[in-house]
Amino acid sequence: MAMVVDYKHESSFPYWTSVCRRFEPDSPFFSSGNLERELLAKQVALDLTEDERNQLEKMIDNDARSVFCPIVGCGARLTSLEDFEDHYAARHTASCSVCSRVYPTSRLLSIHVSEAHDSFFQAKVARGYAMYECLVEGCGLKFKNYKGRQQHLVDKHKFPTSFDFFNKAHPSKKKRLKNQQKRRMHKKDEETSSKMEVENETIDGLVSAVSKLSTSDSSPSNISFGRRNARGLTFVPRSIQPPREKK
């Protein structure tokens, strides 16, 4: 209860401040108003139809509106901000069916699955193989432990020191309750088997857990793409996914 809250970021958070915002006359902020001015002025003289106006406004809007996907390594060009949601949902929500954590690429998801839910992986680690892959695609280096990989990411690839692949996602409330229940239930059994739950993982914990494996939830039954609540479905190709498609 009285856990020390992390104040690392406190001083650097840019808090909301209410300030007056002024724009130059040629600022993009005013461009749709400027466009309206010229269209309205020429409407009569140039016989502009309703259709043409809409077309024009759309064209100008789209030029301004196109955006590049900001997820590292993606850079896909999207014609509008609305498109971004669709794109994100389709491409960057690979979720783990075991613990519901979400990753932006299937590669990262499979790395997570190996590292967090695969006993075979842990066994090899215990025997000293370099199993922890660098997260940057194309790098190819592997490390014997999590910390080593972490250091490599910081040193070689300029990842922020706060980046922590393991400790990433915060499970949903449902999952948290489930975890707590499980913990209480398994208290009588091996207390350490609950350490397979990635939440409280430490390197040592992993190694010791390997030696006390329980078979309950250690192997990923399937990997699913799409939002979290699609957990449990086997791999569903994008074309068949429910919401936006016709059939």
């Binding site: 209860m1 856990m3 809250v5 992390d6 690392k8 970021h9 406190e10 650097s12 958070f13 840019p14 808090y15 909301w16 401040t17 209410s18 300030v19 007056c20 915002r21 002024r22 724009f23 130059e24 006359p25 040629d26 005013f30 749709s32 108003g33 309206e36 001015r37 010229e38 269209l39 309205l40 002025a41 020429k42 003289a45 140039l46 016989d47 043409e52 077309q55 024009l56 064209m59 955006v67 590049f68 996907c69 900001p70 997820i71 390594g73 901000l81 609305e82 971004f84 994100y88 979400v102 922020p160 706060s162 980046f163 990433k168 915060h170 409330k173 948290r176 309750l177 707590q180 939440e199």
Partner: protein, 519 residues
């Protein structure tokens, strides 16, 4: 489509390069809103198709989609019209003047017929030096008018075509004088307005040649179409980015008075052009803004916003109001004092704009509100208790993206006290709690999810307010309910480091290991 064969027999040397390009151009027009049409519609220049005096002898073409043959024909006719003019100008003695006027008139008709006048052909045939000659002092009004009209339409097109008017500028400016007949002065103002609308370079040339004072004077009378054309030309002339012209304009004797007079009484079309002048004055020149704010202009702008429903007028009036609020702190601190009638008036017309169907009005009205909400606590209370808030809440969930962003600024500004020195600003808990209870959080979390950096930043900043400021530690639960944790976790793999740090910071601080343990 037969592109070359028949044409190559008929083509004469002048048109060999012009004809093909023109033909292609006209073909594209027939399909959708072609690129050239789009550009011409968007330009700050205006074609003169019906004379200043309402000259009715030019039948305006029903359809502007000229076929290839017609295009060739037009170019050929234009070239010969210029040839005619050449010989007419060389003429001396009796009847020479009439000959000149006839030749000019013919050229003018050709240049006014369609949306895409044969400017290239005219320029290639050497029209400009001839037209300059026709502008010489002592020429008849008719001649001056026709020549200026030709130049107006030559200047209405592409940049290089507008630039071709350089030799004519001093004379066009000269004919703005009070000794000129009104139609002539107006047509010259129109031509100069097109030149000014081209770009900064030409604007500077015009200013250095003294175009501003005579145009300003033309804006002073109460009546006539000349006033309106002059106001439009001035708005193009002062639009910067150098603020010098705007500052110079407000200093001209009688200009401020005329602006106020027109805003108060003029018919909508004139008030519109004058409002655009105010837009540029208030956006560029601090000096002009200071003067304007101390005058009655704010009240007049409010009255126009309340009374009119013409989008054309509302846009510049609203923007002028916005610029005056944003440009000078005096506006909110001294004029728009909460509780004063004018302040209520402002909020009321802004609400009217928020309710309108027009995207531009909604967006810019929200912007103005956000700046007023950036004022004192009393200003925030004033807006918070007005009709604006329910509208804003609705817009936050339903409006297009750019409007939602502005609305976010208003709502967020209502929740934080004015910045006082270093450190984080204090929250206005009452406003925050109420707005969150009325459901604004999901709109902000949506912004967190957006690909737009500014929007995401706003969303995260507001989320922080909620996490920090909701009483009884309710914040984290509320954020979680709206899938806020999910939205913030997206940033782990986001390329923007600031956003990543912001999001990670919030998640670490408020959703740490022990989050939710005591449930």
């Amino acid at each position: 489509m037969a592109d070359d064969s028949p044409a190559s027999h008929r083509r004469d040397p002048i048109k060999s390069s012009v004809g093909n390009v023109a033909a292609q151009r006209r073909r594209q027009n027939a399909v959708t809103v072609g690129k050239e049409r789009r550009e011409s519609l968007v330009r700050a220049k205006r074609l003169c198709r019906v004379g200043a005096t309402g000259d009715g002898d030019v039948p305006v073409e029903e359809s502007d989609m000229i076929t290839d043959e017609e295009g060739f024909l037009l170019d050929a006719q234009t070239s010969s019209a210029v040839e005619e003019l050449k010989s007419a100008v060389a003429c001396q003695g009796k009847g020479a003047m009439q000959k000149r006027v006839n030749a000019l008139r013919e050229l003018r008709r050709l240049l006014s017929k369609s949306e895409f006048p044969p400017v290239e052909a005219a320029l290639k045939a050497g029209a400009i030096p001839l037209l300059v000659q026709c502008l010489s002092f002592g020429s008849s009004d008719e001649q001056l008018l026709e020549a200026a009209w030709c130049l107006t339409n030559i200047a209405a097109g592409k940049p290089e075509e507008t630039k071709a008017l350089l030799p004519a500028l001093p004379l066009l400016i000269a004919h703005l004088g009070e000794k000129s007949s009104l139609p002539v002065a107006e047509q010259c103002a129109w031509a100069l307005g097109n030149v000014a609308g081209e770009g900064e370079e030409l604007r500077n040339v015009l200013l250095s040649q003294g175009a501003l004072p005579p145009l300003a004077r033309m804006m002073l009378p109460n009546k006539g179409s000349t006033v309106r054309t002059a106001a439009w030309a001035l708005s193009n002339l002062i639009k910067g980015p150098d603020p010098k012209a705007a500052t110079e304009l407000i200093k001209v004797d009688g200009v401020l008075d005329a602006i106020l007079r027109h805003l108060r009484k003029a018919y909508e079309e004139l008030a519109t052009e004058v409002a655009w002048v105010v837009v540029y004055l208030s956006a560029l020149s601090n000096f002009a803004t200071g003067i304007l704010v101390k005058s009655d202009v704010l009240q007049l702008l409010v009255e126009r916003l309340a009374a009119s429903n013409s989008l054309q007028l509302l846009i510049p009036v609203l923007r002028s109001l916005g610029n005056l609020v944003a440009g000078d702190s005096h506006t909110t601190s001294t004029v728009l004092v909460p509780g004063h009638e004018i302040t209520d008036g402002v909020v009321k017309v802004l609400v009217k704009c928020l309710k309108s169907d027009h995207r531009v009005l909604k967006k810019e009205a929200a912007w103005v509100l956000s700046n007023i909400a950036a004022g004192s606590i009393e200003h925030k209370q004033c807006i918070y208790s007005s009709e604006a808030v329910p509208l804003l809440l609705r817009l936050l969930s339903t409006a297009p993206f750019d409007i939602r962003k502005e609305v976010a600024y208003v709502l967020g500004n209502l929740c934080v006290a004015p910045t006082a020195g270093e450190g984080k600003p204090n929250l206005i808990e009452e406003h925050l709690v109420s707005l969150v209870q009325r459901g604004c959080l999901s709109g902000f979390i949506d912004l967190v999810r957006s690909a737009d950096i500014e929007a995401a930043r706003l969303g995260l900043q507001f989320t922080e307010l909620v996490l920090r400021g909701m009483p009884n530690g309710e914040g984290p639960k509320l954020v979680e309910q709206e899938d806020g944790i999910d939205a913030m976790e997206r940033y782990q793999f986001h390329e923007n480091e600031d956003l990543r740090n912001m999001a990670n910071g919030l998640v670490d601080k408020y959703f740490g290991e022990d989050y939710g343990i005591d449930e």
